[in-house]
């Protein structure tokens, strides 16, 4: 049963990975607009981005 001392830290590591995924999703603004992304999936073609020289929206709080 002492394997539990290995399993618990492992499970924590997994959970921390998910926590970081959550932090990333909040930081990238996914919790700010919950309406538009649901419409975007219905568009037929993907918005094709121009070559790298074009400006991108920097995700940062206003």
């Amino acid at each position: 049963m002492s394997v539990i001392f290995l399993l618990i830290p492992l499970s924590i590591l997994f959970a921390i990975a998910f926590l970081f995924a959550f932090v990333w999703s909040v930081r990238s603004g996914q919790y700010e607009d919950t309406t538009t992304p649901s419409m975007r999936v219905l568009l037929d073609e993907k918005t094709v981005r121009q070559p790298d020289s074009t400006p991108k929206i920097v995700s940062k709080p206003k």
């Binding site: 049963m1 539990i4 001392f5 618990i8 924590i12 419409m39 991108k56 929206i57 709080p61 206003k62």
Partner: protein, 791 residues
């Protein structure tokens, strides 16, 4: 009716001026600029597609991102290759004209607060879930298998998990508790912070000394639930702004005349003495003198006058009026911020900070609660101290741990937050849930007349005089079709039924007087009494007057003296009678007033003149205050005087002229025709359709506050149970781990459940109203909707 002009290249030229540009863009460096435009026209998926593919249409535009709920588009572009004004022109040519207000120039703080709250909640939830899982092993006695090291191991692990929760997730509670203590108050965050500190200290001591694994699971759970409550109460209605002032109403630019040419300039750069061109439907940005052109100004939003006013060259025009008709030329006399209307914002009421009174219900209760808890904790400590000093300390801390008022703190956010959502579905939008507390305490209600009880431009049109024949009515209809004067348009719409217009010859419109023309050989004059009298027609003959059967009914005893605008009619120089254009009461207004007058003190303020005093006296009864010719400042003063008498006042208004009163009142309700239209700063934005049901909203507010009190009672019972266990010195982590989530969840379920259930009443009634509407006759309006306005 809205006239869309094709965009001229220089229409948005002012956007390229350095000051405007610098204030408008969100982010800018050498190769990238980012700007957010509000595009009210966004309404479907195709809009999203088009706007996110802008880069295909113009080189230099990069990624663009639509926020559908806020109707905004964020556009990144290369400032060397494309100008800001070009983007605005492009959007306009696509049919998405950016709405640019003076307020856009003020720094917008954005909303990093919600982002932080989400992170705090995520961390707390992560720690709560894991800590609870690990603690289960010891609660179920698994450590008996593995040995005592497990208990120690889990203790330290939970301590590690709890550190970010105490340090980051709960940080805002300490800050709020500290501010409150410095003001010598005990708000709800004081016992919360005390509880968190007590639990953490006790648990750290237990783990460090090897006595047990502490209460870290309960601690993380507590913070997690509290943050859930906080997130729930932070519901905001996107696209609704409760803090708007005149700046959101005024445009960003005006057309200035310099010499023979015209140029658009930013309003901020407007100086006194500038000559401006104001076209049909545009707003007068600053107090000014009329130089040329017949002006017909709609002041309904600014002064509350229900009918547009005619002005002549040389007249003084107040800022905020809207020109109806042709283009006029003005000379500005004052700066935008110093005009008659805008100087209202220099009043004291606009500097008042009412945040302190938020959540008064919970904080009042927690004042008493905290004191009692400290007494009990001390009592327990004193009781145990002769027997065992360590047990005394344990009991003292245990009481603080158990009494941490998690359930108490959750009652108001969930009950009132649910009520806010229920009202939101009924087109009544609250600035925050705590407005309901103030709403429940109201004992005086002040109404603004125009736009609130009456709907401008939607009144009944009645005929006064000997009945018109079918032919005569057709002549008049033919005449009114040739004029764009608002009164002519309304009369035309009222008598339009199955008439085909006859040709009109030698039609002439004299501004401020009336229209004349020849229909089927008959010389017809329609206009003001003075104009007709100056042509030798005796008006207002007070002979026996019977309402024409063809025209809609009027319920006013003597319309000549009391009601709305009059348009007199003469045929071949002989007086025929006059049209009376009443400003219509909204449907059910009368019933609402009767209903409210039982429980509340009512008052009516109007910027309009006294012509309708009699009518409103009948409506309000003899006890109510009726004040006419009120300036925006008078309204503010009236609210203040009521408050000085100890009244809690609710102000119901719609225009900028009510802005001061709305701000000064304990609860300000802005009534709007369309929810997306402009409304002045207020606590509640309500759709005009909900006005007749104001009494129900007030009753619901009272009910939800009662629900909060009941939830307080429940959480107090939990606390009593917990405290009695704690004071006897028997508190164990497992008791805490059961009691704490149980109390929180049950209080949340009760608070949201009951308010949602009570809210059903509002929705059911709406069905009833809808059914009555379809079955009953609609007498009150001939013209269904008021267009234009703030759009």
């Amino acid at each position: 009716m809205r006239i869309v002009r094709p965009p001229t290249p220089n229409r948005f030229a002012y956007l390229d001026s350095h000051e405007v540009r610098a204030q408008l863009v969100d982010y800018s460096d050498a190769s990238l600029t980012r700007v957010t435009f509000l595009l009210p026209a966004i309404h479907c998926i195709a809009c999203v597609w088009l706007l996110e593919n802008l880069f295909r249409l113009k080189a230099g535009i990069g990624e663009s991102q639509v926020n559908f709920a806020r109707k905004e588009v964020a556009i990144a572009f290369d400032p060397d290759r494309v100008k800001l004004s070009e983007i605005a022109v492009l959007l306009t040519s696509l049919g998405y004209e950016p709405k640019l207000n003076l307020a856009d120039l003020d720094a917008q703080p954005g909303n990093p607060a919600t982002r932080r709250l989400w992170l705090q909640l995520g961390v707390a939830g992560f720690a709560f879930g894991n800590a609870m899982f690990f603690s289960l092993t010891t609660y179920f006695g698994l450590d008996a298998f593995i040995g005592p090291q497990l208990r120690v191991f889990i203790g330290w692990l939970n301590l590690l998990l709890a550190i970010p929760v105490v340090g980051f997730s709960a940080a805002d509670y300490y800050r709020s508790a500290w501010t409150s203590l410095r003001r010598r108050l005990l708000n709800i965050d004081v016992p919360i912070s005390g509880g968190i500190a007590a639990i953490f200290a006790q648990s750290v001591w237990e783990v460090a000394s090897g006595r047990g694994e502490g209460y870290f699971d309960s601690l993380c759970g507590l913070v997690f639930f509290l943050l859930c409550g906080k997130l729930f109460q932070q519901k905001t209605f996107e696209r609704l702004a409760f803090d708007r002032d005149y700046k959101s109403f005024f445009p960003l630019s005006v057309t200035r005349k310099c010499g023979m040419s015209e140029e658009p300039i930013a309003l901020a750069q407007l100086a006194t003495g500038d000559h401006l061109i104001i076209r049909n439907g545009e707003l007068i940005p600053a107090d000014a003198k009329l130089i040329s052109g017949p002006a017909l100004i709609d002041y309904s939003f600014v002064t509350g006058e229900s009918e547009p006013v005619e002005k002549r060259a040389g007249d003084y025009l107040y800022a905020g009026g809207r020109q109806m008709g042709g283009a006029i030329e003005l000379e500005t006399l004052k700066l935008v911020s110093q005009s008659y209307l805008t100087s209202l914002w220099n009043q004291e009421a606009f500097r008042k900070d009412r945040a302190a009174s938020l959540n008064a219900l919970t904080n009042d209760y927690s004042q008493r609660f905290t004191k009692i808890i400290i007494l009990i904790a001390l009592g327990a400590a004193i009781y145990w101290s002769p027997i065992s000093p360590s047990k005394a300390l344990h009991a003292f801390i245990a009481v603080l741990i158990v009494a941490c008022p998690c359930a108490l703190a959750l009652a108001a956010p969930f009950a009132l937050g649910t009520a806010q959502r229920v009202l939101g579905t009924q087109q009544v939008f609250l600035k925050n849930p705590y407005v309901l507390e103030s709403l429940a305490q109201i004992d005086a209600i002040v109404f603004d007349k125009t736009g609130t009880l009456t709907a401008a431009g939607a009144g009944a049109v009645g005929w006064q005089g000997l009945p018109l024949s079918e032919t005569e009515e057709r002549w008049l209809y033919s005449m009114t079709r040739h004029s764009t004067h608002p009164l002519a348009v309304r009369i035309g719409e009222a008598i339009a039924r199955h008439h085909f217009p006859d040709p009109v010859r030698s039609f002439l419109e004299t501004t401020g007087c009336g229209i004349e023309g020849n229909v089927a050989g008959q010389e017809i004059w329609l206009g003001s009494a003075t104009w007709l009298e100056s042509r030798g027609v005796a008006c207002c003959s007070r002979t026996q007057q019977t309402p024409s059967s063809g025209s809609p009914k009027l319920e006013i005893p003597n319309p000549i003296n009391h009601v709305g605008a009059h348009v007199h009619v003469a045929v071949n120089g002989h007086y025929r009678g006059c049209y009376v254009l009443a400003s219509a009461l909204r449907t059910n207004s009368a019933a609402l007033i009767r209903h409210l007058s039982v429980r509340y003190e009512l008052a009516l303020l109007s910027g309009d003149n006294e012509k309708e005093r009699e009518r409103f006296r009948n409506l309000f009864g003899s006890g109510a205050h009726l004040q006419f010719n009120q300036s925006p400042l008078d309204k503010l003063g009236f609210i203040k005087s009521l408050q000085r008498q100890g009244k809690r006042v609710m102000m119901v208004g719609d225009g900028l002229n009510d802005a001061g009163a709305l701000k000064q009142a304990d609860v300000g309700v802005a009534v709007v025709e369309h929810v997306s239209a402009f409304s002045p700063a207020s606590d509640i934005i309500a759709s005009a359709a909900m006005m007749p049901r104001l009494a129900e909203v007030l009753r619901y507010a009272k009910q939800s506050v009662t629900t909060v009190r009941a939830a307080f009672l429940i959480s107090t019972i939990y606390n009593l149970v917990g405290v009695s266990i704690a004071a006897s010195g028997n508190l164990s982590p497992i008791v805490c781990a059961i009691l704490m989530p149980l109390s929180s969840v049950s209080v949340v379920a009760f608070a949201s459940g009951v308010t949602a259930w009570l809210g059903r009443g509002l929705q059911i009634d709406e069905l009833k109203v809808a059914r009555q509407k379809t079955s009953g006759p609609q007498l009150s309006t001939l013209k269904p909707q008021r267009t234009g306005g703030a759009a």
